[in-house]
Subunit: 229 residues, 2 copies
Amino acid sequence: MPRLPDPQLAARRRREILEAALVCFRRRGFHQATMQEICAEARVSPGALYRYFKSKSDIIAAIAAEEHAQIEPLFQSLAAGASLLDTLEILAVDWLKKFADDDAPLIADVFAECVRDRELAAEITRNGMALQDRLVEAVRTAQAGGELAADLDPVSIVRLLFATLDGLGFRVAVLRDITPEAAAAELMTMLRRFLSPTAGVISHPQNDIQRIKRAPRRAASKTSQETSP
Amino acid sequence: MPRLPDPQLAARRRREILEAALVCFRRRGFHQATMQEICAEARVSPGALYRYFKSKSDIIAAIAAEEHAQIEPLFQSLAAGASLLDTLEILAVDWLKKFADDDAPLIADVFAECVRDRELAAEITRNGMALQDRLVEAVRTAQAGGELAADLDPVSIVRLLFATLDGLGFRVAVLRDITPEAAAAELMTMLRRFLSPTAGVISHPQNDIQRIKRAPRRAASKTSQETSP
DNA sequence: ACCTGAACACCGTTCAAGT
DNA sequence: ACCTGAACACCGTTCAAGT
């Protein structure tokens, strides 16, 4: 009876190739790095590589999937009673620092690739949504505890937070007109004002004609998917 | 005496090629679209195309350069006394709508290409900064008029605004969990609270240990470049 | 001056052939 | 079962040759 293929070896080979690909992508970006380079770095032939990854963007998907792991400690310290805003500051600095490092090309390429590659986008979305849902829960807790304004949609808050983080990441990586630390500080200044329980809303005499539109305050939804009309 | 090369013809050819490239990029994205396709669409040979654009990404740069034009009316209505926040809402909806259309791949590719292509990044930065500087001026005016909180750095405000717009654009284009209109509404809710002259800052008993960091309130700088340390 | 299109130096991916 | 590496079908770009 023939033995099943060794899963140990397969897993190790996958890891070796992934590690080699990371080196190459960091060095030259996703599109500039060639499969030949990755093969050389991983010391395998092209044929062998295609045993473990069915395409170049399959490698990117695998890398992106692994990225979502080391934020776990943050949720644990949240559970231990840490302030949400202080925890978010740590998250922000961590995230923005990645853009300043040589990871910038990597992240930008993943973004761009997502627009067309539906499978990759689905993978990213799945991971991102999981993280997002946990943060939404944390925001809800903070609202109940009086730390944040209670009249804002938690899903909306988290979406704005993530959007600003992505946008600031782009600035840090491309325009380079601000450091990760300064960007995170600016973000926190904004969040503290935005989310303050006692915040007022602009209503200046000059604006009287045009009524201020408020975002529809619907019942809090379980996942952000439900936010779309 | 030989006549100079006809600038009329050159300009027309450039425009034809640019238009053809736009069709191809919108259809398949920057990297998937081939030069052969663009040549076929523009009805010129590869050799002819390379007379007018020195590379594929040179075409992207030219497209990006043209994009920054139709926002002029917004600044005129601002000069005519329109409220800054109302004007920003129009700007936001316009910008976010582009991501929902077939322009999404185009914009995402420009972003990604910027990370490595330094010339392209410089081109984008130049245009972006010009727009940014004009908005910074508008924010300053609004602050002086009491429409916005006066204790915030105008450069910081505009940077956060642009960052959030870019990040929301990504959500609209890739995750597709929100419409351009809804995203713009969320953004405006945030901006009205964040920029309110009477806004409070979160200072909850639980946060007493960690002092709240404020962005350094330096003398207003002429260009945002000076914001980096 | 302006254009053509075959040719060049690559690229991601496959597959017959080895061990 | 696992791997090799030449071969395949392409790509962006160039350049001798035409008009």
